[in-house]
Amino acid sequence: MKMVCYTLKGVSYAYHTHQEIIRNLSIHVPEGKVTAILGPNGIGKTTFLHIALGWLKPLEGEVTLHGTSLGRYSRRDLGKAVSLVPQNEHISFDYSVLEYVLLGRTPYLRPLALPGDEDVAVAREALETAGIAHLEHKPVHELSGGEAQMMLLARSLAQQPRVILMDEPTSHLDLANKGKVFDLVRSLSFRGVSVLLTSHEPDEAFAVSDFTILIGKGGLVMAGDTPEVMSAENLQRIYGVPIRVEKVNGHTHFIWYQCKG
Protein backbone atom coordinates (compact mmCIF):
# COMPACT_ATOMS: atom_id res chain seq x y z
CA MET A 1 0.00 0.00 0.00
CA LYS A 2 1.30 3.45 -0.94
CA MET A 3 2.14 5.79 1.95
CA VAL A 4 0.17 9.01 1.82
CA CYS A 5 1.61 12.46 2.37
CA TYR A 6 -1.40 14.76 1.88
CA THR A 7 -5.09 13.87 1.82
CA LEU A 8 -7.57 16.45 0.58
CA LYS A 9 -11.25 15.69 1.22
CA GLY A 10 -13.88 17.81 -0.53
CA VAL A 11 -11.66 20.92 -0.51
CA SER A 12 -13.05 24.11 -2.05
CA TYR A 13 -11.48 27.55 -2.18
CA ALA A 14 -12.53 30.90 -3.65
CA TYR A 15 -10.84 34.30 -3.57
CA HIS A 16 -14.17 35.96 -4.35
CA THR A 17 -17.67 34.79 -3.53
CA HIS A 18 -19.23 32.53 -6.20
CA GLN A 19 -15.90 32.17 -8.04
CA GLU A 20 -14.46 28.93 -6.73
CA ILE A 21 -10.97 28.36 -8.07
CA ILE A 22 -10.80 24.92 -6.44
CA ARG A 23 -14.07 22.99 -6.21
CA ASN A 24 -14.74 19.90 -4.09
CA LEU A 25 -11.25 18.47 -4.58
CA SER A 26 -10.54 15.06 -3.08
CA ILE A 27 -7.11 13.58 -3.66
CA HIS A 28 -4.25 11.60 -2.08
CA VAL A 29 -0.67 12.76 -2.62
CA PRO A 30 1.89 9.96 -2.21
CA GLU A 31 4.70 10.11 0.36
CA GLY A 32 8.34 10.35 -0.71
CA LYS A 33 7.55 10.97 -4.36
CA VAL A 34 7.80 13.91 -6.73
CA THR A 35 4.27 15.07 -7.48
CA ALA A 36 3.67 17.49 -10.35
CA ILE A 37 0.63 19.72 -10.31
CA LEU A 38 0.08 20.46 -13.95
CA GLY A 39 -2.36 22.77 -15.64
CA PRO A 40 -2.72 25.97 -17.65
CA ASN A 41 -2.01 29.42 -16.23
CA GLY A 42 -4.42 30.81 -13.65
CA ILE A 43 -6.10 27.47 -12.98
CA GLY A 44 -5.31 27.34 -9.24
CA LYS A 45 -1.99 25.48 -9.04
CA THR A 46 -0.42 28.05 -6.70
CA THR A 47 -3.65 28.15 -4.69
CA PHE A 48 -3.37 24.37 -4.33
CA LEU A 49 0.19 24.76 -2.95
CA HIS A 50 -0.85 27.54 -0.56
CA ILE A 51 -3.68 25.35 0.77
CA ALA A 52 -1.17 22.50 1.25
CA LEU A 53 1.07 24.98 3.11
CA GLY A 54 -1.80 25.90 5.43
CA TRP A 55 -1.46 29.54 4.35
CA LEU A 56 -4.89 29.50 2.70
CA LYS A 57 -7.69 27.84 4.69
CA PRO A 58 -10.18 25.88 2.55
CA LEU A 59 -13.72 27.26 2.60
CA GLU A 60 -14.94 23.66 2.72
CA GLY A 61 -13.33 20.29 3.26
CA GLU A 62 -10.24 19.17 5.13
CA VAL A 63 -6.52 18.81 4.40
CA THR A 64 -4.49 16.26 6.36
CA LEU A 65 -0.71 15.90 6.33
CA HIS A 66 0.64 12.50 7.40
CA GLY A 67 -2.78 11.71 8.85
CA THR A 68 -3.12 14.88 10.96
CA SER A 69 -5.34 17.79 10.01
CA LEU A 70 -3.25 20.85 9.06
CA GLY A 71 -5.22 22.91 11.58
CA ARG A 72 -3.93 20.71 14.43
CA TYR A 73 -0.26 21.44 13.70
CA SER A 74 1.38 24.22 15.72
CA ARG A 75 2.95 26.94 13.55
CA ARG A 76 6.47 25.78 14.40
CA ASP A 77 5.70 22.08 13.82
CA LEU A 78 4.19 22.85 10.42
CA GLY A 79 7.26 24.97 9.61
CA LYS A 80 9.48 21.99 10.43
CA ALA A 81 7.34 19.62 8.32
CA VAL A 82 6.64 21.68 5.19
CA SER A 83 8.78 24.24 3.36
CA LEU A 84 7.91 26.51 0.45
CA VAL A 85 9.97 27.53 -2.55
CA PRO A 86 7.97 30.43 -4.02
CA GLN A 87 8.05 31.29 -7.70
CA ASN A 88 9.61 34.66 -6.88
CA GLU A 89 10.95 35.91 -3.59
CA HIS A 90 11.39 39.65 -3.46
CA ILE A 91 14.22 40.18 -0.97
CA SER A 92 14.28 43.89 -0.20
CA PHE A 93 17.56 43.99 1.68
CA ASP A 94 21.00 42.75 0.81
CA TYR A 95 21.46 39.71 3.02
CA SER A 96 24.39 37.42 2.28
CA VAL A 97 23.42 34.03 0.84
CA LEU A 98 24.26 32.31 4.14
CA GLU A 99 22.20 34.83 6.14
CA TYR A 100 19.21 34.22 3.87
CA VAL A 101 19.54 30.41 3.99
CA LEU A 102 19.88 30.58 7.77
CA LEU A 103 16.32 31.97 7.89
CA GLY A 104 15.24 28.41 7.10
CA ARG A 105 16.18 27.46 10.67
CA THR A 106 13.46 29.72 12.13
CA PRO A 107 10.94 26.92 12.89
CA TYR A 108 13.60 25.31 15.11
CA LEU A 109 14.18 28.49 17.14
CA ARG A 110 12.11 29.77 20.03
CA PRO A 111 10.47 33.16 19.22
CA LEU A 112 13.23 35.30 20.79
CA ALA A 113 16.19 32.99 20.04
CA LEU A 114 19.00 33.52 17.54
CA PRO A 115 20.45 30.77 15.35
CA GLY A 116 23.48 29.02 16.85
CA ASP A 117 26.48 27.16 15.46
CA GLU A 118 24.42 24.03 14.79
CA ASP A 119 21.96 26.04 12.72
CA VAL A 120 24.83 27.58 10.75
CA ALA A 121 26.18 24.06 10.11
CA VAL A 122 22.77 22.91 8.82
CA ALA A 123 22.52 26.01 6.59
CA ARG A 124 26.02 25.34 5.19
CA GLU A 125 25.04 21.71 4.51
CA ALA A 126 21.96 22.98 2.64
CA LEU A 127 24.17 25.27 0.57
CA GLU A 128 26.43 22.29 -0.17
CA THR A 129 23.46 20.15 -1.24
CA ALA A 130 22.20 22.92 -3.50
CA GLY A 131 25.69 23.26 -4.99
CA ILE A 132 26.14 26.92 -4.03
CA ALA A 133 28.47 26.64 -1.01
CA HIS A 134 30.96 28.89 -2.81
CA LEU A 135 28.39 31.71 -2.81
CA GLU A 136 28.00 31.76 0.98
CA HIS A 137 29.21 35.35 1.43
CA LYS A 138 27.79 36.78 -1.78
CA PRO A 139 25.05 39.44 -1.38
CA VAL A 140 21.73 38.06 -2.63
CA HIS A 141 21.21 40.95 -5.05
CA GLU A 142 24.35 39.93 -6.96
CA LEU A 143 23.11 36.42 -7.74
CA SER A 144 22.07 35.25 -11.21
CA GLY A 145 18.54 33.88 -11.71
CA GLY A 146 19.76 30.29 -11.46
CA GLU A 147 21.84 30.96 -8.34
CA ALA A 148 18.91 32.77 -6.70
CA GLN A 149 16.63 29.80 -7.38
CA MET A 150 19.16 27.41 -5.83
CA MET A 151 19.39 29.75 -2.83
CA LEU A 152 15.60 29.57 -2.35
CA LEU A 153 15.90 25.80 -2.49
CA ALA A 154 18.78 25.82 -0.01
CA ARG A 155 16.71 27.92 2.43
CA SER A 156 13.92 25.42 2.12
CA LEU A 157 16.38 22.53 2.68
CA ALA A 158 17.67 24.23 5.84
CA GLN A 159 14.17 23.70 7.25
CA GLN A 160 14.87 19.93 7.01
CA PRO A 161 11.28 19.37 5.94
CA ARG A 162 9.51 16.13 5.05
CA VAL A 163 7.59 17.97 2.34
CA ILE A 164 8.80 20.67 -0.05
CA LEU A 165 6.27 22.75 -2.01
CA MET A 166 7.77 24.34 -5.13
CA ASP A 167 5.87 26.90 -7.18
CA GLU A 168 7.04 26.69 -10.80
CA PRO A 169 10.67 26.30 -9.71
CA THR A 170 12.11 26.42 -13.23
CA SER A 171 9.94 29.05 -14.88
CA HIS A 172 12.73 31.66 -15.12
CA LEU A 173 15.67 29.33 -15.66
CA ASP A 174 17.75 28.33 -18.65
CA LEU A 175 18.14 24.68 -19.63
CA ALA A 176 21.30 24.03 -17.61
CA ASN A 177 19.79 25.48 -14.44
CA LYS A 178 16.53 23.60 -15.01
CA GLY A 179 18.61 20.42 -15.11
CA LYS A 180 20.29 21.32 -11.80
CA VAL A 181 16.94 21.94 -10.10
CA PHE A 182 15.47 18.68 -11.41
CA ASP A 183 18.56 16.69 -10.34
CA LEU A 184 18.20 18.13 -6.85
CA VAL A 185 14.46 17.39 -6.77
CA ARG A 186 15.08 13.77 -7.79
CA SER A 187 17.83 13.35 -5.18
CA LEU A 188 15.52 14.74 -2.49
CA SER A 189 12.83 12.27 -3.45
CA PHE A 190 15.44 9.51 -3.30
CA ARG A 191 16.11 10.59 0.30
CA GLY A 192 12.40 10.23 1.15
CA VAL A 193 11.38 13.90 0.93
CA SER A 194 7.98 14.47 -0.71
CA VAL A 195 8.13 17.20 -3.35
CA LEU A 196 5.03 18.88 -4.77
CA LEU A 197 5.81 21.18 -7.65
CA THR A 198 3.61 23.15 -9.98
CA SER A 199 4.30 23.42 -13.67
CA HIS A 200 2.56 24.32 -16.88
CA GLU A 201 5.11 22.47 -19.01
CA PRO A 202 4.13 18.82 -19.66
CA ASP A 203 7.68 17.87 -20.76
CA GLU A 204 9.19 19.07 -17.50
CA ALA A 205 6.49 17.52 -15.34
CA PHE A 206 6.87 14.19 -17.13
CA ALA A 207 10.66 14.25 -16.79
CA VAL A 208 10.78 14.90 -13.07
CA SER A 209 7.59 13.54 -11.47
CA ASP A 210 6.40 10.14 -10.26
CA PHE A 211 2.82 11.25 -9.67
CA THR A 212 0.82 13.89 -11.52
CA ILE A 213 -2.25 15.91 -10.67
CA LEU A 214 -3.81 17.47 -13.76
CA ILE A 215 -6.02 20.48 -13.10
CA GLY A 216 -8.22 21.92 -15.82
CA LYS A 217 -11.02 24.44 -16.14
CA GLY A 218 -14.19 23.82 -14.18
CA GLY A 219 -12.37 21.90 -11.45
CA LEU A 220 -11.45 19.05 -13.78
CA VAL A 221 -8.87 16.89 -12.04
CA MET A 222 -7.10 13.69 -12.95
CA ALA A 223 -4.47 12.19 -10.72
CA GLY A 224 -2.28 9.13 -10.82
CA ASP A 225 1.15 7.80 -11.72
CA THR A 226 2.71 10.14 -14.24
CA PRO A 227 3.00 7.74 -17.25
CA GLU A 228 -0.66 6.78 -16.90
CA VAL A 229 -2.12 10.23 -16.39
CA MET A 230 -0.07 12.17 -18.91
CA SER A 231 -1.66 10.89 -22.07
CA ALA A 232 -2.22 13.08 -25.12
CA GLU A 233 -5.97 12.81 -24.59
CA ASN A 234 -5.86 13.97 -20.94
CA LEU A 235 -3.51 16.85 -21.73
CA GLN A 236 -5.71 17.99 -24.60
CA ARG A 237 -8.68 18.10 -22.24
CA ILE A 238 -6.71 20.14 -19.73
CA TYR A 239 -5.05 22.61 -22.11
CA GLY A 240 -7.69 22.70 -24.84
CA VAL A 241 -5.13 22.40 -27.66
CA PRO A 242 -4.13 19.39 -29.77
CA ILE A 243 -1.17 17.57 -28.23
CA ARG A 244 0.83 14.67 -29.67
CA VAL A 245 3.07 12.33 -27.68
CA GLU A 246 6.30 11.21 -29.32
CA LYS A 247 9.09 9.00 -28.10
CA VAL A 248 12.59 9.99 -29.18
CA ASN A 249 15.46 7.75 -28.06
CA GLY A 250 13.28 6.41 -25.26
CA HIS A 251 12.34 9.92 -24.01
CA THR A 252 8.74 11.07 -24.08
CA HIS A 253 7.98 14.46 -25.60
CA PHE A 254 4.73 16.35 -25.78
CA ILE A 255 4.32 18.27 -28.99
CA TRP A 256 1.64 20.87 -29.31
CA TYR A 257 0.54 22.48 -32.51
CA GLN A 258 0.08 26.16 -32.94
CA CYS A 259 0.34 26.57 -36.71
CA LYS A 260 -2.64 25.77 -38.86
CA GLY A 261 -2.54 24.46 -42.45
Partner: protein, 334 residues
Protein backbone atom coordinates in the same frame (compact mmCIF):
# COMPACT_ATOMS: atom_id res chain seq x y z
CA UNK B 1 37.04 34.04 -0.20
CA UNK B 2 36.28 36.58 2.50
CA UNK B 3 33.67 38.96 1.16
CA UNK B 4 33.36 41.32 4.12
CA UNK B 5 36.43 42.93 5.54
CA UNK B 6 36.71 45.14 8.57
CA UNK B 7 36.33 44.94 12.32
CA UNK B 8 34.00 42.38 13.91
CA UNK B 9 30.43 43.42 14.63
CA UNK B 10 30.85 43.23 18.40
CA UNK B 11 34.03 45.29 18.23
CA UNK B 12 32.45 47.89 15.96
CA UNK B 13 29.31 48.17 18.11
CA UNK B 14 31.38 48.47 21.28
CA UNK B 15 33.46 51.20 19.64
CA UNK B 16 30.35 53.09 18.51
CA UNK B 17 28.78 52.77 21.98
CA UNK B 18 31.97 54.19 23.51
CA UNK B 19 31.86 57.04 20.99
CA UNK B 20 28.23 57.73 21.94
CA UNK B 21 29.15 57.87 25.63
CA UNK B 22 32.04 60.21 24.89
CA UNK B 23 29.79 62.44 22.80
CA UNK B 24 27.23 62.51 25.60
CA UNK B 25 29.85 63.68 28.10
CA UNK B 26 31.17 66.30 25.67
CA UNK B 27 27.63 67.47 24.83
CA UNK B 28 26.79 67.92 28.50
CA UNK B 29 29.87 70.15 28.83
CA UNK B 30 29.11 72.00 25.61
CA UNK B 31 27.14 75.24 25.85
CA UNK B 32 27.14 79.01 26.07
CA UNK B 33 27.77 79.42 29.80
CA UNK B 34 30.09 80.52 31.31
CA UNK B 35 31.43 81.02 27.78
CA UNK B 36 30.60 79.54 24.37
CA UNK B 37 32.30 76.16 24.04
CA UNK B 38 33.21 73.57 26.64
CA UNK B 39 32.48 74.25 30.28
CA UNK B 40 35.70 73.62 32.25
CA UNK B 41 35.29 70.93 34.92
CA UNK B 42 36.60 73.40 37.50
CA UNK B 43 33.63 75.70 36.78
CA UNK B 44 31.23 72.93 37.74
CA UNK B 45 32.82 72.77 41.18
CA UNK B 46 33.12 76.51 41.66
CA UNK B 47 30.14 77.95 39.81
CA UNK B 48 26.80 76.80 41.22
CA UNK B 49 24.91 78.22 38.25
CA UNK B 50 27.06 76.25 35.78
CA UNK B 51 26.47 73.04 37.74
CA UNK B 52 22.74 73.71 37.91
CA UNK B 53 22.65 74.43 34.20
CA UNK B 54 24.38 71.15 33.41
CA UNK B 55 22.18 69.10 35.73
CA UNK B 56 18.80 70.64 35.01
CA UNK B 57 19.05 71.64 31.35
CA UNK B 58 21.92 70.03 29.45
CA UNK B 59 21.82 66.52 30.96
CA UNK B 60 18.10 65.89 30.35
CA UNK B 61 18.47 67.40 26.88
CA UNK B 62 21.39 65.14 25.99
CA UNK B 63 19.58 62.06 27.33
CA UNK B 64 16.44 62.99 25.39
CA UNK B 65 18.46 63.50 22.19
CA UNK B 66 19.91 59.99 22.55
CA UNK B 67 16.50 58.49 23.34
CA UNK B 68 15.01 60.35 20.39
CA UNK B 69 17.69 59.13 17.98
CA UNK B 70 17.62 55.54 19.23
CA UNK B 71 13.83 55.38 19.06
CA UNK B 72 13.46 56.96 15.61
CA UNK B 73 16.34 55.00 14.05
CA UNK B 74 15.37 51.59 15.43
CA UNK B 75 11.70 52.21 14.66
CA UNK B 76 12.65 53.34 11.14
CA UNK B 77 14.74 50.22 10.65
CA UNK B 78 11.88 48.00 11.86
CA UNK B 79 9.37 49.82 9.61
CA UNK B 80 11.66 49.54 6.57
CA UNK B 81 12.28 45.84 7.13
CA UNK B 82 8.66 44.94 7.82
CA UNK B 83 7.39 46.89 4.80
CA UNK B 84 10.30 45.65 2.67
CA UNK B 85 10.73 49.26 1.63
CA UNK B 86 13.84 51.32 2.39
CA UNK B 87 11.96 54.62 1.87
CA UNK B 88 9.54 54.16 4.77
CA UNK B 89 10.10 56.13 7.97
CA UNK B 90 8.69 55.61 11.47
CA UNK B 91 6.19 58.46 11.33
CA UNK B 92 4.40 56.46 8.69
CA UNK B 93 0.95 55.08 9.51
CA UNK B 94 -0.32 58.48 10.59
CA UNK B 95 1.94 58.73 13.66
CA UNK B 96 3.90 61.91 12.78
CA UNK B 97 1.03 63.77 11.16
CA UNK B 98 -1.27 62.65 13.98
CA UNK B 99 1.17 64.06 16.55
CA UNK B 100 1.48 67.32 14.60
CA UNK B 101 -2.29 67.66 14.36
CA UNK B 102 -2.66 66.91 18.08
CA UNK B 103 -0.11 69.59 18.99
CA UNK B 104 -1.67 72.19 16.70
CA UNK B 105 -5.18 71.36 17.89
CA UNK B 106 -4.15 71.79 21.52
CA UNK B 107 -2.30 75.08 20.88
CA UNK B 108 -5.24 76.65 19.01
CA UNK B 109 -8.31 75.22 20.70
CA UNK B 110 -7.26 74.20 24.23
CA UNK B 111 -4.04 75.61 25.68
CA UNK B 112 -0.45 76.31 24.76
CA UNK B 113 0.81 74.70 27.99
CA UNK B 114 3.69 72.38 27.09
CA UNK B 115 2.45 69.34 29.00
CA UNK B 116 -0.96 69.62 27.36
CA UNK B 117 0.53 70.01 23.87
CA UNK B 118 2.73 66.93 24.41
CA UNK B 119 -0.16 64.88 25.78
CA UNK B 120 -2.39 65.86 22.87
CA UNK B 121 0.41 65.04 20.38
CA UNK B 122 0.91 61.59 21.93
CA UNK B 123 -2.82 60.85 21.94
CA UNK B 124 -3.30 61.84 18.32
CA UNK B 125 -0.16 59.93 17.27
CA UNK B 126 -1.62 56.75 18.74
CA UNK B 127 -5.00 57.65 17.26
CA UNK B 128 -3.33 57.97 13.82
CA UNK B 129 -1.82 54.53 14.23
CA UNK B 130 -5.17 53.09 15.32
CA UNK B 131 -6.98 54.70 12.35
CA UNK B 132 -4.38 53.32 9.95
CA UNK B 133 -4.80 49.78 11.26
CA UNK B 134 -8.58 50.09 11.24
CA UNK B 135 -8.63 51.40 7.68
CA UNK B 136 -6.16 48.70 6.52
CA UNK B 137 -8.57 46.04 7.79
CA UNK B 138 -11.42 47.63 5.85
CA UNK B 139 -9.57 47.84 2.52
CA UNK B 140 -10.75 44.89 0.43
CA UNK B 141 -7.86 44.40 -1.94
CA UNK B 142 -4.12 43.84 -1.94
CA UNK B 143 -1.85 42.16 0.59
CA UNK B 144 -1.47 43.23 4.20
CA UNK B 145 1.56 45.46 3.55
CA UNK B 146 -0.04 47.31 0.63
CA UNK B 147 -3.25 47.87 2.63
CA UNK B 148 -1.28 49.33 5.56
CA UNK B 149 0.74 51.59 3.25
CA UNK B 150 -2.42 52.91 1.59
CA UNK B 151 -4.15 53.37 4.94
CA UNK B 152 -1.08 55.19 6.35
CA UNK B 153 -0.98 57.55 3.36
CA UNK B 154 -4.72 58.26 3.65
CA UNK B 155 -4.68 58.89 7.40
CA UNK B 156 -1.55 61.08 7.15
CA UNK B 157 -3.21 63.10 4.38
CA UNK B 158 -6.33 63.67 6.50
CA UNK B 159 -4.23 64.88 9.44
CA UNK B 160 -2.14 67.08 7.10
CA UNK B 161 -5.34 68.70 5.85
CA UNK B 162 -6.37 69.16 9.47
CA UNK B 163 -3.05 70.87 10.26
CA UNK B 164 -3.67 73.21 7.33
CA UNK B 165 -7.08 74.16 8.69
CA UNK B 166 -5.66 74.66 12.20
CA UNK B 167 -2.89 76.91 10.84
CA UNK B 168 -5.52 78.89 8.95
CA UNK B 169 -7.56 79.30 12.14
CA UNK B 170 -4.54 80.09 14.36
CA UNK B 171 -3.74 83.56 15.64
CA UNK B 172 -0.87 84.66 13.33
CA UNK B 173 0.85 86.64 16.07
CA UNK B 174 0.84 84.12 18.93
CA UNK B 175 -0.35 80.64 17.97
CA UNK B 176 0.99 80.27 14.42
CA UNK B 177 4.68 80.76 15.34
CA UNK B 178 4.24 78.28 18.19
CA UNK B 179 2.74 75.67 15.83
CA UNK B 180 5.43 76.29 13.21
CA UNK B 181 8.23 75.94 15.77
CA UNK B 182 6.67 72.71 17.10
CA UNK B 183 6.35 71.32 13.58
CA UNK B 184 10.05 72.03 12.94
CA UNK B 185 10.95 70.05 16.04
CA UNK B 186 13.46 70.71 18.78
CA UNK B 187 14.65 69.88 22.26
CA UNK B 188 14.89 73.45 23.58
CA UNK B 189 12.13 72.96 26.13
CA UNK B 190 13.15 69.52 27.40
CA UNK B 191 13.14 68.97 31.17
CA UNK B 192 13.72 65.97 33.42
CA UNK B 193 10.02 65.12 33.38
CA UNK B 194 10.32 64.54 29.61
CA UNK B 195 13.11 62.04 30.27
CA UNK B 196 11.01 60.30 32.93
CA UNK B 197 8.10 60.11 30.50
CA UNK B 198 9.97 59.06 27.33
CA UNK B 199 12.78 56.88 28.74
CA UNK B 200 10.70 53.93 30.04
CA UNK B 201 8.73 53.72 26.77
CA UNK B 202 11.79 54.04 24.52
CA UNK B 203 13.96 51.66 26.57
CA UNK B 204 11.17 49.05 26.70
CA UNK B 205 10.45 49.38 22.96
CA UNK B 206 14.14 49.20 22.00
CA UNK B 207 14.66 46.16 24.24
CA UNK B 208 11.74 44.34 22.64
CA UNK B 209 12.96 45.23 19.14
CA UNK B 210 16.43 43.89 19.97
CA UNK B 211 14.87 40.69 21.32
CA UNK B 212 12.80 40.33 18.14
CA UNK B 213 15.69 41.11 15.75
CA UNK B 214 15.79 37.63 14.17
CA UNK B 215 12.01 37.61 13.84
CA UNK B 216 12.17 40.99 12.07
CA UNK B 217 14.43 39.38 9.44
CA UNK B 218 11.86 36.68 8.80
CA UNK B 219 9.03 39.22 8.65
CA UNK B 220 10.90 41.13 5.92
CA UNK B 221 10.16 38.24 3.54
CA UNK B 222 6.90 37.73 1.61
CA UNK B 223 3.88 36.79 3.70
CA UNK B 224 3.65 33.19 2.49
CA UNK B 225 7.39 32.59 2.95
CA UNK B 226 7.31 34.08 6.46
CA UNK B 227 4.29 31.85 7.20
CA UNK B 228 6.11 28.79 5.84
CA UNK B 229 8.91 29.49 8.33
CA UNK B 230 6.55 28.95 11.25
CA UNK B 231 5.64 32.57 12.02
CA UNK B 232 2.27 34.30 12.18
CA UNK B 233 3.17 37.17 9.84
CA UNK B 234 0.03 39.26 10.38
CA UNK B 235 0.11 39.16 14.17
CA UNK B 236 3.87 39.48 14.51
CA UNK B 237 4.13 42.39 12.06
CA UNK B 238 1.33 44.15 13.91
CA UNK B 239 3.26 43.65 17.16
CA UNK B 240 6.57 44.98 15.80
CA UNK B 241 4.99 47.99 14.06
CA UNK B 242 2.94 48.88 17.13
CA UNK B 243 6.03 48.79 19.38
CA UNK B 244 7.99 50.92 16.88
CA UNK B 245 5.10 53.39 16.44
CA UNK B 246 4.54 53.77 20.20
CA UNK B 247 8.25 54.57 20.70
CA UNK B 248 8.01 57.11 17.85
CA UNK B 249 4.87 58.67 19.33
CA UNK B 250 6.60 58.99 22.72
CA UNK B 251 9.57 60.94 21.34
CA UNK B 252 7.62 62.95 18.75
CA UNK B 253 5.27 64.20 21.46
CA UNK B 254 8.31 65.54 23.36
CA UNK B 255 10.41 66.88 20.47
CA UNK B 256 7.98 67.56 17.62
CA UNK B 257 8.51 66.34 14.07
CA UNK B 258 12.16 65.34 13.65
CA UNK B 259 12.51 64.16 10.09
CA UNK B 260 15.21 62.08 8.37
CA UNK B 261 16.60 60.34 11.48
CA UNK B 262 14.32 57.32 10.95
CA UNK B 263 15.09 57.28 7.24
CA UNK B 264 18.81 57.92 6.87
CA UNK B 265 20.19 56.16 9.97
CA UNK B 266 18.82 52.71 8.99
CA UNK B 267 20.35 53.23 5.51
CA UNK B 268 23.68 54.18 7.04
CA UNK B 269 23.49 51.22 9.43
CA UNK B 270 22.88 48.75 6.62
CA UNK B 271 25.79 50.26 4.69
CA UNK B 272 28.20 50.10 7.61
CA UNK B 273 27.01 46.85 9.14
CA UNK B 274 24.60 44.53 7.36
CA UNK B 275 20.93 44.26 6.48
CA UNK B 276 20.57 41.29 8.85
CA UNK B 277 18.47 42.46 11.82
CA UNK B 278 20.85 40.75 14.24
CA UNK B 279 23.29 43.53 13.43
CA UNK B 280 21.19 46.37 12.02
CA UNK B 281 18.65 46.59 14.89
CA UNK B 282 21.11 47.25 17.75
CA UNK B 283 23.53 49.22 15.55
CA UNK B 284 20.76 51.56 14.32
CA UNK B 285 19.96 52.51 17.92
CA UNK B 286 23.55 53.53 18.70
CA UNK B 287 24.03 55.32 15.37
CA UNK B 288 20.65 57.06 15.80
CA UNK B 289 21.77 58.36 19.20
CA UNK B 290 25.08 59.62 17.78
CA UNK B 291 23.44 61.28 14.75
CA UNK B 292 20.76 63.07 16.77
CA UNK B 293 23.18 64.18 19.46
CA UNK B 294 25.54 65.72 16.92
CA UNK B 295 22.58 67.43 15.19
CA UNK B 296 21.29 68.79 18.50
CA UNK B 297 24.73 70.13 19.45
CA UNK B 298 24.88 71.86 16.07
CA UNK B 299 21.33 73.18 16.50
CA UNK B 300 22.13 74.92 19.77
CA UNK B 301 25.67 76.14 19.05
CA UNK B 302 26.18 76.62 15.32
CA UNK B 303 24.45 80.01 15.21
CA UNK B 304 23.95 82.75 17.79
CA UNK B 305 20.30 81.76 18.17
CA UNK B 306 19.11 78.14 18.45
CA UNK B 307 17.99 76.47 15.22
CA UNK B 308 15.14 73.96 15.20
CA UNK B 309 16.58 70.42 15.46
CA UNK B 310 14.35 69.20 12.62
CA UNK B 311 16.06 71.63 10.24
CA UNK B 312 19.54 70.32 11.12
CA UNK B 313 18.50 66.63 10.92
CA UNK B 314 16.97 67.31 7.48
CA UNK B 315 20.06 69.13 6.25
CA UNK B 316 22.63 66.68 7.60
CA UNK B 317 20.37 63.71 6.77
CA UNK B 318 20.01 64.75 3.14
CA UNK B 319 23.77 65.34 2.77
CA UNK B 320 24.52 61.96 4.38
CA UNK B 321 21.93 60.33 2.15
CA UNK B 322 23.72 61.58 -0.97
CA UNK B 323 27.10 60.49 0.43
CA UNK B 324 25.77 57.05 1.40
CA UNK B 325 24.29 56.52 -2.06
CA UNK B 326 27.46 57.66 -3.79
CA UNK B 327 30.07 55.90 -1.66
CA UNK B 328 31.28 52.35 -2.05
CA UNK B 329 29.84 49.95 0.52
CA UNK B 330 31.92 49.28 3.63
CA UNK B 331 30.79 46.53 5.94
CA UNK B 332 31.97 44.75 9.04
CA UNK B 333 32.31 41.04 9.60
CA UNK B 334 29.70 39.10 11.58
Amino acid sequence: MKQFRGPSFTGALTGLSALLLLLMVLSVLLGRYPQTGFTPLRSLLEDALALRLVLTLRLPRVLTAVLLGAALASAGNAFQMIFGNPMVEPGFLGVSQGAAFGAGFCIVFITGALWAVQLSAALFAILGLGFSYYLARKIRFGGWVLRLILAGIAVSAVFSAGIGIIKFAADPMTQLPEITFWLLGGLHSVQWRDVYYAAPIVVAACTILVLLRWRINVLSLSEETAYSLGTRPGTERFLVLTIAAVATAAVVSVAGIISWVGLIVPHLTRRLFRADGRYSVPASMVLGGIFTLICDDAARLLFPGELPLGVITSLLGAVLFIVVLALKQVRVKA
